[in-house]
Symmetry: C2
Subunit: 219 residues, 2 copies
Amino acid sequence: MSTDHEPSPMLNFYYAPRCCALASHIVLEEVGASYQRTRLDFTKNEQRSMAYLAINPKARVPALVTSHGVLTETPAILAYLAQTFPAANLAPLDDPWAFAQVQSFNAYLCATVHVAEAHWQRGNRWVDPDDAHAIAALKKKVPTSVFDAFELVERNLTGPWVMGERFTICDPYLFTLAQWMEFYQVNVAGLPRVIAHRARVAARPATQRAIAEELGRAA
Amino acid sequence: MSTDHEPSPMLNFYYAPRCCALASHIVLEEVGASYQRTRLDFTKNEQRSMAYLAINPKARVPALVTSHGVLTETPAILAYLAQTFPAANLAPLDDPWAFAQVQSFNAYLCATVHVAEAHWQRGNRWVDPDDAHAIAALKKKVPTSVFDAFELVERNLTGPWVMGERFTICDPYLFTLAQWMEFYQVNVAGLPRVIAHRARVAARPATQRAIAEELGRAA
C-alpha cells in the first residue's frame, strides 16, 4: 500500500485504480475534501494483506478511514460525504423523498448494475473458480445483463444529471460503472443518454483530477 | 394483485410473501404506518404484469407507492421510513457517522448477502437459464458464499442489535435474509449470534404481524 502525504489527517481514502472506488474518489474531489489517499495494488493482492484486512475485513475497496472509524460500501460513503460537506450540495439532504430517490438509484447501481458487471471478472465469488464452464457461462451473459440494467437507467435519464437539473452523488457513481461498458461488450449504441451523461461527468474537473491521480499522473 | 382496504391512501406497499420485501413490511409495522398492502403472486408472474410494470419497471418487490411517487430498493425504503416516522427512532438521523454505519450495513446486506442468496433460485439473472451445468454450479456455491457473507456479520454482532443497544432498520433486514439460511444449506451452527439475533427480531410484535399477514392469516 502506498500513501500520499497530503495535509489532512482526518480522512484516508483506500482505493485501487480502475474499480468502483472511483465514484467515491470523484466525490471527495467534488466536495473539496482534504484527504490522504492510500492506493492498493490488486495485482499484488494487497487487499488481502493483514494490514488492510485490519481496516476492511471485506478485502475490498473503497474504504474511508475517518476520525470516527472506517466506513465501507460506496452508497454509504457517497451519502456520508454529501452529509458532511453540505456546502457542495451533492444530495437533497433536507427533502426525505428526494433523498430517498438518490438512495434508491445508488442501491440499484450497487446491487444490480455493479453486481451484473462483476460476473465478468469476479465469477469466483459465485461459482467454483476451477469450473471453467461456469465461469465462461457467467461471462457470456454479462453483455446482455449489463445492457438490461443500464437500459432501465437510460429510460429515466431525461435531464443532464440523474436527478434532473441537479448534479448529485448519483452522477459520479453512474459514470464510474458506465465507463466499463465497452469492455463488457455492452451494446452502447442502445444507451445514448447514458453515454452522453458519461461524457458530461468526464468533463468535470473533479472527475479529471480523480482519474489523473488513479492513473498515476500528476493531477 | 390483491389490495387490502386499510384506511390510509398515503402509502401502498407492494410485496410478495417470503421474499426480501418482508424487511420493509416489518418496518412499516414498527413505525406504526397506516398503509395499504398489495400482494403480488409470483407464481402467476404478477410482477411482470403491465399493471405492475407501470409501478415498478424492475419487476421486483418491494415497491412503496407514496403521495410523491414510487420508491424501490430496500435500503432506500427503510431509510425513508425511518426519516418520515422519526418518532419510531429506527435510525440515528441526527448523527451522520452513525447513519453512515446503518447505510453501510444495509448496502452490504443488499449487494453482498442478498445477492449471494439469489444465486440459489435466481441464477437465470446471471447465466442462460437453459445451461443446467451453470445453474447447478451457482447453486452449489451458495451454502459457502452465504455463510461467508454472514460470517462477517457474525464477527461484529456483539450487541443485542446490529447497531448495539439500539434497534434500527438494520435489524429487520438482517432478520429477513437470515430466515432463509437453512433453506440454502448454510452451516448455521457457525453463526450463533446471527441465529440469536434472528430469534430476537422474530419475537417482536411488528415482525409477527408482518409475517402473519404474509402467510395469509389474520394478524
